[in-house]
Amino acid sequence: MRSQVVPRKLILRSLAHIGIGAITILWVLPILWMLMSAFRDPGEPFYTGILPSHFTLVNFRKVLSNPIAVRSFRNSFVVAASAAAVDLVIASLAAYGFSRFRFPGHKGLQVMLLVVRLFPGVLLAITLFQVAGFLNVYDTHIPLILANALLNLPFATWNLRTTFEMLPIELEEAAWLDGATRIGGIRRILLPLMAPGLAATGAFVFLLSWNEYLFAVSFIRSPEKQLITATIAANIGQYNIDFTALIATAMLASLPLLAVFLLIQRYIVSGLGVGAIRG
């Protein structure tokens, strides 16, 4: 009896694993296709084969020697890194406040974060556009940085709050007994322990800000200040597109982030869930 049951279970198990693997590969097939096509010879039309007949780096050379593309990458980097830095400071303070203190309005402010998380981007673009014109910062990166920081603030706060709550208050109390101030305790005791959480949160805010398109296309007019998403999108609609160069640009704009994403994804789940809305 036993010898019959075990192989059947084994077969079922391996079938399940093969099934999951197949679904996974099918799901990311379009991305694999994009990665392959970035190495396609620009002279080889797509209808000659789904996969390129040989691989070449000429597309990447073309993109990296295009000053507009290179500048767009740099602008995107500046905006995304600044938004991540702003959020790390503001959100870690807020997360600490929410996790260590109870005060009137605790719940109300959580709901406010939630509303910000669900705020329609297009309405924000309109109203911030008005304010940016009023403050004379239109066509600069400042409104972009602030808008991205605002939109990702809820995620960053929730994610860091969970990280703070995993560290017992006793750690801090020990530091206070040794004469540390509250800020000193946070800086010397908590922050080093939170390094992975902070890095992952910052990296994810960076990723979302890098990927953002609506604000990038609304707040910037000058081509030399354009972010990479807006630059790519402006190329999509054109008639004689250099397909392979466009794909190579897209790949350069996404591959480094996908790699980082694979490293950090396990650390960001707690900030994503709506379960993060607690008292």
């Binding site: 999951i20 679904i23 924000l124 990927n211 953002e212 396990r266």
Partner: protein
Amino acid sequence: MFGKIAPGASAREELPKRRWPRINPGYLFIAPAVLLMTLLAVYPTFRGVNLSLLRTIKRTRETSYVGFANYTAMLADPIFRKAFKQTLLFSGFSSLGHIVLGFILALVMNAALNRRFMSMCRAVILLPWALSPIVVAIITQLWVYPLTSPITRVLRALGLSAEFAPLARTGSALWTLTAINVWQFTPFYMLMILAGLQTIDPGLYDAAKVDGASLVQRIRYVTIPHVREALLTSALFDLVTTAAYFDLIWVTTQGGPVRSTEVLATYTYRLAFWNMDWNRAATAGMILLVLCIATSAVVVVQMQRE
């Protein structure tokens, strides 16, 4: 006030202490976040409300207060109604796809016994979600353009010469965008649901098995009741997020052909940044905001009740 000092306590000691009202230090930590939200969300919203109550004469740039006239005019506008209906269709079916497919994927992933293999597949399947909508738009464009589309090639190889241009037809464009949205975001909901599934005590399944429950019955009576709250909450938040979805639709179809993929977000954007009709754009944006807040209020009230 001074009379209240307890006998025996010296006034010199007591007074300086009470000069500053004691603030809960929690507020100091939250203050920067509140400041950012007030300056960038609360204040602009009030400006938005104000804009939506005005009308501007284009030639003279004169503005006048018109009350809710922009709202009544907009609700009667057939294009607005079309966009509204399509928003509900797009976000409704996208969310349905996310939750149903995400639940199935999460069940399958949760059943995989090899943890390392499962977490590897989970990470890889999440990749589309980490892509910029602009990159997804490029892939989309190349997959629906006959000269570059691998799908056209496969169809030809199968002897089907049917022309494959789903974004160019009014009947299929919105459904194609829905499918792409489902492709990109289902893994995210899978992740959320999977996190819920992993909190279920495996002993419950064993107990149900001993009682003779079939696989379907175990899912129906053990799994679903445990994650139902999480599923409903995710679905409502999903509806709200997808209702405001803009990037992919704008970059691929710009609401066309013949407005067949026009949703509230693209409609609002066009009014604002193409027609520079800020009053009507703010009106449309406020309607979208009310729709989003009303839907999420249902969730918040539900969570308070728990």
